[in-house]
Each structure stands twice: as structure tokens, then as C-alpha cells.
């Protein structure tokens, strides 16, 4: 790792450890990080230059920092270090487009520090040491899943020494899961069920078809993540959480949504104070991650107005600091409210669309 990279990492790690970073300090670090990235990441530098920014003209505000579209990770390598220094990479899913890309790292240190610091505060504020039941991609089979990696780190460093993976090739291994739930119950060991929304639906469907309910040990919680893009079945979050509470015996306030993406190194979680309801929940970022809600021209919109979400993630030291997404949300006091697809949105027109084309092509 180069000296500038190491120096930046030290500053970012300090912010993560302190779990605090005021606006001025954030901007100063962000600008330094941007300068480092355009010096070492050629595509990002070209993109920034097309928007009028280079080493001689650095952004003066967070709004000015050029944000690479998330899809740019699929276009070419977006890294500040040579390929041979890559020690970890995650496959970006590509949402409704075909091919994925890679988010590369020359060190796992920032990623691990960031995820643990957030997880500790947003999922383990009570300091519990939990048993992790993982309905997310198993890193043994999916070594480039960011979610699998994240939960593997959490289970390793924050678990009780026993954890299990129950999803393989998109299929739920129900019997081993139920056996391990039974064991946790008999040991009165609270669990953290970390699951994708889709896997949770599959679990609840399986329990419902067996007319079965579970009662997870007191103190258990659920971390749910991901949406339903590309899935044939979509369940509204309110229905999902109510059914999960009913079938798994976990209070709704202990069901927490994590919001992250492979192109980032940090995660958002439901703010503690918004967990008493299912909707709307406010997503809270850690101090080294900021979001802007922007309009179709990339201009920030006022709080409460819906727009696309842009992330500025200082832990993305090895790639790009700012990432534009097509996720919708609105800035509110204390965080961000994500908006899903409008179920009743009017369909227009008889044109082919990208999703249909992709589906037809298999």
C-alpha cells in the first residue's frame, strides 16, 4: 500500500474508531480522498475532469464531488491500486442489467472496521453476544458476495462461536435451520437471523405451509437486507415484518433493515428510534458515510423531496468516494427514508423495456 493510501486509511480508521466526524472534518477528509483518487484512479479522474474537476480544481463541497454511477463498476476497473495488489473483491449484482462488475480492495481493514463499528452500534447496542443464523450467501460457495463476507466477519468476531449458513443456490435448507433454532432455544441462546428479504419470505412461506411458528429466544433479532429486484414475488415490508414477528416470535422493534450495496464499504441501518413502526423507517448512516438526495440533473433536493440517492463513503478509499444510485429516497431529520417501487404505478405504453428484454433472453 502506498504512503498516501496508508495515511488516508489511518485518518479514516480513526474516524471509524471514534464513531464521530463533524461536517468540516468530513469535507476535509473527503476532498483529500478525492484528490488521492483522481491521482490514482484513471477512469474516475477522466470522469471528474469531464465535470470540471482535477487536481487544480478540487470540490469545495460534498455536492460538488463527482459521483460515479454505480453501474460504472461494470464498465471498467475502478480502483486506486494495481490489479496485483487486490486482496479482496466483491461481485456487483448489476440489478436488472446483465453483467456484474467488481469492487476491489487492497486491504480488508477499512471494510471490516466500518462494518463492525456500525453493526456494534446498530445491531448490538445491548452488547449481546449472539448466535448467527445466516440466510445470506455462504462465503464458502460465494466468496465474492459482499453480504456473505460481511456476515462472516460479524459471526466470527461478534458471534458465540457457533453459526450456520442455510441458503445454498437460492434454496433454503429448512431442516438444519430448524434443528439449530431448536438447539438455540434449548440453550436459551439469543440469535441474530441475518437474512435477505427474499430468503425471509421463503422461510416464512415454509413455516406457514407447515402451520408452524417459532419462538426465538428472548433477545433474538433479525437483520433483513436487500429488496426483491428480479424476483417473481414481492412482499410489502409491512406485511413481511408482521409475518416475521408472528412466525418467529421476534418483536417488530427487533427486526432491523440494513441498507448497503456492493459498490460501498459502509452500511445504513434503521435508526433505533424508528424501529417501533414498520414504515417509514429512517435509515441512519455512520459518521463516515453521508448521503445526498438529488434530482435528475444531480442537484440536491430539499429534505422531504424524493430523489435519487448519492452516497459519499469515506471507507471507499480504494475505489471512488461518491456513488450515484437509482435508489429512491428522501432526506429527513436524522437520516434517509428509502422508497420502494409504487405497487400501483400506472403502466404506460407498448414498448419493449429493458427488464422484459432481459427476461426474454433468459
Amino acid at each position: 500500500m502506498s504512503d498516501p493510501a496508508a495515511a488516508l486509511d489511518a485518518r479514516i480508521l480513526a474516524a471509524i474508531a471514534a464513531y464521530a466526524l463533524d461536517d468540516d472534518a468530513f469535507l476535509a477528509l473527503a476532498v483529500d480522498l478525492f484528490a488521492y483518487q483522481i491521482a490514482n484512479n484513471r477512469p474516475y479522474a477522466a470522469f471528474a475532469r469531464s465535470l470540471g474537476f482535477d487536481a487544480d480544481r478540487l470540490p469545495q463541497s460534498l455536492e460538488e464531488i463527482p459521483a460515479a454511477p454505480a453501474a460504472a463498476f461494470k464498465e471498467q476497473r475502478l480502483a486506486t491500486f494495481p490489479p496485483q495488489q487486490c486482496v479482496l473483491w466483491f461481485q456487483t449484482s448489476g440489478t436488472t442489467q446483465g453483467t456484474g462488475g467488481r469492487h476491489e480492495f487492497d486491504s480488508p481493514a477499512l471494510y471490516e472496521a466500518a462494518l463492525l463499528a456500525s453493526f456494534d452500534r446498530m445491531m448490538l447496542a445491548d452488547g449481546q453476544r449472539l448466535r448467527y443464523l445466516l440466510l445470506v450467501p455462504d462465503p464458502r460457495h460465494h466468496p465474492h458476495s459482499s453480504l456473505g463476507f460481511m456476515m462472516d466477519v460479524v459471526a466470527e468476531w461478534r458471534g458465540d462461536g457457533e453459526h450456520g449458513w442455510y441458503v445454498s443456490d437460492d434454496a433454503l435448507a429448512l431442516e438444519p435451520f430448524l434443528d439449530d433454532v431448536q438447539r438455540a432455544c434449548s440453550e436459551d441462546r439469543p440469535v441474530c437471523l441475518a437474512t435477505t428479504a427474499f430468503a425471509l419470505v421463503a422461510l416464512l412461506d415454509a413455516l406457514a405451509s407447515a402451520s408452524s411458528t417459532l419462538s426465538l429466544p428472548r433477545g433474538s433479532r433479525i437483520m433483513e437486507t436487500g429488496g426483491f429486484k428480479g424476483r417473481s414475488r414481492i412482499v410489502q415490508r409491512d406485511d413481511l415484518y408482521r409475518e416475521a414477528a408472528h412466525r418467529l416470535g421476534v418483536p417488530i422493534s427487533m427486526i432491523v433493515a440494513e441498507y448497503g450495496m456492493t459498490e460501498l464499504s459502509s452500511q445504513y441501518y434503521d435508526a433505533l428510534e424508528s424501529r417501533s413502526v414498520t414504515e417509514p423507517r429512517v435509515k441512519r448512516a455512520p459518521p463516515w458515510l453521508r448521503s445526498l438526495v438529488v434530482d435528475d440533473q444531480g442537484r440536491p433536493v430539499p429534505d422531504g423531496i424524493v430523489g435519487s440517492i448519492r452516497h459519499i463513503d469515506l471507507a471507499n478509499r480504494g475505489s471512488v468516494i461518491a456513488v450515484d444510485t437509482e435508489d429512491l429516497g428522501a432526506a429527513v431529520a436524522g437520516g434517509l427514508v428509502l422508497l420502494g417501487r409504487e405497487p400501483g404505478a400506472e403502466l404506460r405504453g407498448c414498448s419493449l423495456d429493458a427488464e422484459t428484454l432481459l427476461r426474454r433472453r433468459g
Binding site: 454511477p69 435528475d296 424524493v306 400506472e346 403502466l347 405504453g349 414498448s351 419493449l352
Partner: protein, 405 residues
């Protein structure tokens, strides 16, 4: 005295009534049209000029001559709908209309269900239209009933709410013909509810593309660019006849010139046809595409002009069209083989091929790529009533031939 039905009327009389009703709807101040316009605007979010343009195209196209031309082209004569006509072979043939036709417009393309319904009526079939934008079809059917009471029982408009109306089971199983417009899933679901003998005519979602010849590139001026851009931007590019990608033949540098002309035309088009209301998802998708295009232009080169309301992007043969409002994709090619390879590689079901000149090469290209229409730029969104939408006949699905010997 029993009320007259469509079967009691000569086909030419039916055509006359339809044409008269359409003539009333050509008046933008005709109250039912005003109501339909407001309903479409509220439901779909298109701007008023866009809706007025769509309704003008629709109703100015519905004429007695247009209907007669289409029917004669397919059936030989209009009178064959009235009873057996003796042919030279001494075999009589009667293009007898079916009893019931159902037309489902599961998506909200403005007025898409109407031509099919009108041809069914010309065949003297009773027709039920299930349409999301029912204010338009229902309003027009009311006008028809004012023209002649036989239409009041023969032309029925009901709302389509996604397929949950219990009446549909009976409709679909008993109809002689079901014509359906929609996405793959909707068509599959409707098809599955039809009776075993029901004639099912599906119109799935398709794409349209354009090809500028080398000469077309040379001759491209502001007026021609306006025509091309209107094909692309009207209805937010959401029609099967919308121009989704334009292939540009020619020398290096031609593309930049074309992109520049199209961008200027895009700005003019935005004044004539203002952008309406879009969903936040759509807005985010457009913004995402614009950002990605800017990123690609910065990192790989290539044309990218953003006018605010439209974005002209140099596309690649490797990527399918984005299918997004306001996106004008121009793709450089060395010849028509590139277009055919593109369509095959991306498995594009092509509706129309827009060209600068309809010559044998254009027709050959259209045939190669499976297009069902080849036409000049500027007319892509204005198909003739007698045209074979989706490659299908207009009135034939609604008749069963009765031979008399």
C-alpha cells in the same frame, strides 16, 4: 318493433357511422374528447400537447375511405361482410363477422384498442373493450351510439384493472376472438383464460429502430432531424413504434454531426411536446442513464450531448437500447449487416424500421430483421389505419368465412 342490430346494417353504413363519430372526435373541443383528454392526462401524465397529438392522429386516421381500403384489401370487398358474393368459381363466400370479440388493452397506450374494436364492429361483431384508459373508448362508443342505436348494445367499454374482474372468465371463454395488448405476463395470463376455440391475437411489447443511410446522413438537416426526433421522443419513447435506436451509416465524424443536429432537434421537440409527469422510478432511471452515458463518454470517448430534456448518446453495438424517455441513441455502423447482427444479438422484436428513404435496401433490411413496417422518419408514430399493426391483418380475425356452393 325489434331494435336494429349491427347485423341488420350494411357494412358501408356501419363504416359511415364510425367515420362520422370519428369526425366529431377530431374537434378538440368536443366535450367527450375534452373529458377523455383530461382523464388520459391525469392517468398517464403525458403533457396536453402530446395527448392532443395522439388523439388527432387517431381520429384523423379513422375515415370511411381508410376503413374501406383496409377491408377491401383484406377481404376483396366491403360487401362481402353483408352476405355471400358469387365469385367466378361459382363458390359464394361471406365474410361473416363473429358474434363476440374482446379487446384488452392491459397497458395504457393511448387509443390502441380502438382500431381493433372498430374493425370488429365493421364485421358486425359485438365487441367488449377492456381498457385502462376507458374514458376514451367508452366516450367514443357513446358517440357511436348517438350515431346509431345499434352500437349501444354492440360496443361496450369496461375498465381493465389487471385481470381481476370476475366477468372476464365468461368473456374470455365465450368470445370468438380475443385481441390483447400487453406485456408478456399479461398476454400469457389472458391466453390461459381463453376457450379452446377462441382465436387469440396477441400484441406484445416490441421495439422500433431507425437506419440513416450514408446519403441520409449527408442530407440530414434541421427539418429531417425534427422528424426523426419526434419519432423518438413522442409518448416518452414508450410506444412500440417509438424510435429506440438509430443506426448511422457512414464515415468517421458523421456521428458527431448527426448527434449535434438531433440534440438541437430535441430541444425544439421539448417546446412542441413538453415532457409530462414521470414516476420517480422513471426519473431516477433516466438520471442513471445520463450519468452512465457521461461516464462512458469521459472514459471511453464518443458523443454525448445532454440538452436537459433529451440526451443524445453514442451507443454501441454491444448494448441493447436503454428504452428510456428522452434517450436518443445513435449507433455508428458500416452497413446494414451491422443492424441485422445487432437485432439478432439482442433478440429485439422489431415493430418498425424508420429510414430516410424507403428503397429496396430498406425493405430488404426490414425483412431481415423481422420488422413489420418500414417507413420514413417522421411517420413512425403515425401508422395508417389500413396498416398491418404487429404484422397482423386488420379485420380478418373478426370474420369467419362462410362458403356457399
Amino acid at each position: 318493433m325489434a331494435e336494429e342490430t349491427l347485423r341488420d346494417l350494411p357494412a358501408r353504413a356501419i363504416i359511415g357511422h364510425i367515420a362520422e363519430a370519428a369526425a366529431r372526435w377530431r374537434n378538440a373541443d368536443f366535450p367527450p374528447r375534452v373529458r377523455a383528454t383530461a382523464s388520459i392526462e391525469a392517468r398517464l401524465g403525458y403533457s396536453l400537447p402530446v395527448i392532443e397529438y395522439a388523439l388527432d392522429r387517431l381520429f384523423f386516421g379513422i375515415t370511411a375511405q381508410g376503413l374501406e381500403t383496409a377491408i377491401t384489401a383484406e377481404l376483396g370487398s366491403v360487401e362481402t361482410l353483408d352476405g355471400p358474393l358469387l365469385h367466378e368459381s361459382a363458390v359464394g363466400a361471406w365474410a361473416r363477422g363473429v358474434e363476440w370479440a374482446v379487446v384488452v388493452s392491459s397497458d395504457t397506450t393511448v387509443g390502441v384498442a380502438l382500431p381493433a374494436a372498430l374493425f370488429a364492429l365493421c364485421a358486425k361483431a359485438r365487441v367488449v373493450v377492456k381498457d385502462r384508459s376507458d374514458a376514451l373508448v367508452a366516450g367514443f362508443f357513446e358517440t357511436l351510439a348517438e350515431e346509431h342505436p345499434a352500437f349501444s348494445h354492440a360496443a361496450i367499454a369496461l375498465p381493465w384493472d389487471g385481470g381481476s374482474d370476475p366477468i372476464e372468465d365468461e368473456l374470455f371463454t365465450t368470445a370468438d376472438v380475443v385481441v390483447a395488448y400487453g406485456r408478456d405476463e399479461a398476454l400469457a395470463a389472458i391466453r390461459g383464460r381463453c376457450g379452446p376455440e377462441t382465436r387469440f391475437v396477441p400484441f406484445g411489447h416490441r421495439a422500433s429502430i431507425g437506419r440513416l443511410s450514408a446519403r441520409g446522413v449527408q442530407e440530414l438537416d434541421a427539418m429531417r432531424a425534427d422528424a426523426l426526433v419526434r419519432d423518438a421522443l413522442l409518448y416518452d419513447g414508450e410506444g412500440c413504434l417509438s424510435l429506440h435506436a438509430t443506426f448511422v451509416t457512414g464515415r468517421t465524424g458523421a456521428l458527431a454531426q448527426v448527434a449535434s443536429l438531433l440534440a438541437a432537434a430535441g430541444e425544439r421537440a421539448a417546446l412542441e411536446f413538453p415532457v409530462g409527469t414521470r414516476t420517480p422510478e422513471r426519473i431516477a432511471a433516466i438520471a442513471g442513464y445520463r450519468n452512465l452515458s457521461r461516464y462512458r463518454a469521459a472514459t471511453r470517448g464518443g458523443a454525448m450531448i445532454d440538452t436537459g430534456t433529451a440526451v443524445v448518446v453514442e451507443g454501441s453495438l454491444d448494448a441493447p437500447p436503454p428504452f428510456l424517455p428522452g434517450a436518443l441513441v445513435v449507433i455508428p455502423i458500416s452497413g446494414d449487416d451491422d443492424v441485422a447482427a445487432y437485432v439478432a444479438a439482442h433478440q429485439l422484436p422489431v415493430q418498425a424500421l424508420g429510414v430516410d428513404v424507403v428503397d429496396p435496401a430498406a425493405i430488404e433490411l426490414a425483412a431481415r430483421i423481422g420488422a413489420v413496417r418500414v417507413c420514413l422518419f417522421g411517420t413512425m408514430q403515425d401508422p395508417p389505419l389500413a396498416g398491418h399493426h404487429g404484422g397482423e391483418p386488420r379485420i380478418s380475425p373478426f370474420v369467419r368465412w362462410l362458403d356457399t356452393q
